[in-house]
């Protein structure tokens, strides 16, 4: 269970972003109230925040710091699993927070929560797990020693694409503006919600596990620092 230790160590790096981590959820709520946004926006915005923040350890690690992490007793696999699980835990915490906010808003102010909102929010969570896992794998492939600008590009681009795409598709679907060629797909999703959700969750978990496996292989093939 050394991966739990590595996960705890990774969490220490986020400690120094506590202002961002506490301010961001509040900012999401304020934005949602101000712009009268729905559940999809709240959940996807929180997932977007996690996607950005969760890559922090990659950007903070220089050669010396990397030495410290590498010298802690454990295998490459445990180190990688710890980092992925840290991301997974943050994502689940953000989603749980988002659900609480939506539930409270719905109870207090009658915030509208439709089936479509819930369904598409679940898609957003699964998508963010996939995007985050692939992003982590890319960062492992990129390795250390890249410039800060390069690392920031690697961190930001997938997250922004995820956020804007999810919200764009979510809005389009809500307004019934689905391309005619994709209507059959929309109908299929509408009629088989449970199967689609379970498949989506399974696919996301599969990608998550696959990226862990691939990341371990990547780092085992090269020097640790």
């Amino acid at each position: 269970m050394n991966w739990v230790k590595f996960m705890k160590t990774d969490f220490l790096f986020y400690k120094y972003q506590k202002v961002v981590m506490f301010a961001f959820p509040v900012f999401v709520i304020l934005m949602s109230i101000y712009y009268s946004k729905d559940m999809i926006f709240i959940i996807s915005y929180l997932c977007f925040g996690v996607l950005i923040v969760s890559t922090t350890p990659y950007c903070l690690e220089n050669k010396n710091m990397s030495t410290f992490i590498q010298m802690l007793p454990g295998s490459d696999k445990e180190r990688v699993v710890g980092r992925f699980m840290c991301f997974g835990t943050m994502l689940m915490a953000a989603v749980a927070y988002g659900i609480c906010v939506v539930a409270a808003a719905s109870w207090i102010k009658g915030f509208p929560v439709t089936d479509y909102n819930m369904y598409f929010s679940a898609v957003a969570v699964a998508m963010s797990l996939i995007v985050g896992s692939v992003q982590f794998l890319i960062l492992y492939i990129a390795g250390k020693g890249k410039s800060t600008q390069w690392m920031n590009i690697l961190r930001m681009i997938p997250s922004f694409i995820f956020f804007f795409l999810i919200n764009y598709i979510g809005e389009k679907g809500k307004e019934g503006q689905v391309e005619s060629s994709l209507l059959w797909l929309a109908d299929f999703f509408a009629q088989n919600k449970s199967i689609c959700l379970i498949s989506m969750a399974a696919a996301a978990l599969l990608v998550f596990a696959g990226c862990i496996f691939a990341s371990v292989k990547v780092i085992q093939r090269r020097d640790a620092i």
Binding site: K5, T9, K15, M71, P73, S75, R222, A224
Partner: protein, 290 residues
């Protein structure tokens, strides 16, 4: 059992190769690992710690191969680099926290004693520590758990003499029980003179010699003399030979010192003189002068 056993350790990079390094460090001893910048000292240490992967060969630390059990090897190694490996935003409590998470045998009382003894500020960011403080904090970390071997990569360079003296004392206390060993790379020959039992000299990724310090001191002598004796001395295997308008200077294997003219001054060599002579010789070879 040896504390470290290195067999045919090799590592190939695009522009540098460490080739066929072999040595063993018995328990209870200190080995100085010396060579010029870029000779392969850090590469060797990184291979022993498992930070680099071996191209060929094997490394055993306390009888365990890092390939077979990386966690066990890393538990038995205490590594201190030439720069702090802690995240600069960390404070001492963060280091203590990580050590507690990872090492069951972490002795936080001993760690706190070290912090107090060395007057390390608890609430200051590590990034704001002086170099000496950072090194001491790394020592506090590795000395507060049960390691078998300390690996120091130029950890004493750039430190003030008092701190260096303290570190030498720490190292001597560390090996006192005969169960612990130290391998340290350095450019500071005084440190070697003071505490090393063995000296490993590396040049261009290759081992030049690995000897007990006392044997090394017995095996070489310094020769000095006037210009008139230069030619006669040159016929011998003088290492690091240099000439000036006043005469010559070099280091000679002791068995070649017999038969030198009486005018040639033969003195006991120091570790510094021997190592510098070997380095000069290597530089001459690089420059194509030999």
């Amino acid at each position: 059992m040896n504390a470290i056993e290195v067999n045919h350790m090799s590592k190939h990079f695009k522009d540098f190769s460490l080739q066929d390094i072999c040595f063993s460090l018995p328990k209870g001893y200190i080995m100085g690992y010396v060579g010029q910048n870029g000779a392969g000292k850090t590469t060797s240490i990184n291979l022993i710690t498992g930070l680099y992967q071996l191209t060929e060969g094997s490394v055993l630390v306390d009888g365990v191969s890092i390939k077979e059990d990386p966690a066990a090897v890393k538990e038995s190694i205490g590594y201190i680099g030439d720069e702090s490996y802690y995240y600069p935003e960390f404070r001492i409590r963060d280091v203590r926290g990580i050590m507690k998470i990872f090492y069951k045998d972490f002795d936080s009382r001993h760690f706190d004693d070290c912090i107090k003894r060395w007057k390390l500020p608890e609430n200051k960011k590590i990034g704001d520590f002086s170099r000496g403080m950072k090194i001491k904090l790394m020592f506090a970390g590795v000395l507060s758990r049960s390691t078998k071997v300390l690996l120091l990569d130029e950890a004493t360079s750039g430190l003030d003499p008092v701190t260096r003296e303290e570190i030498m004392e720490i190292l001597q206390n560390y090996i006192e029980d005969g169960e612990h060993s130290v391998l340290f790379s350095t450019h500071i020959m005084e440190d070697l003179e003071q505490i090393a039992d063995y000296i490993f000299y590396i040049e261009n990724g290759k081992k030049v010699f690995c000897d007990a310090k006392d044997d090394l001191l017995e095996n070489y002598v310094v020769v000095k003399g006037g210009r008139e004796d230069t030619e006669r001395v040159k016929k011998k295997t003088v290492i690091g030979f240099s000439e000036s308008e006043f005469g010559f200077y070099g280091v000679l294997p002791v068995d070649e010192a017999a038969g030198l003219p009486k005018e040639v001054l033969v003195e006991k060599a120091t570790v510094n003189q021997i190592i510098v002579a070997f380095q000069k010789e290597a530089n001459k070879r690089k420059a194509g002068m030999v």
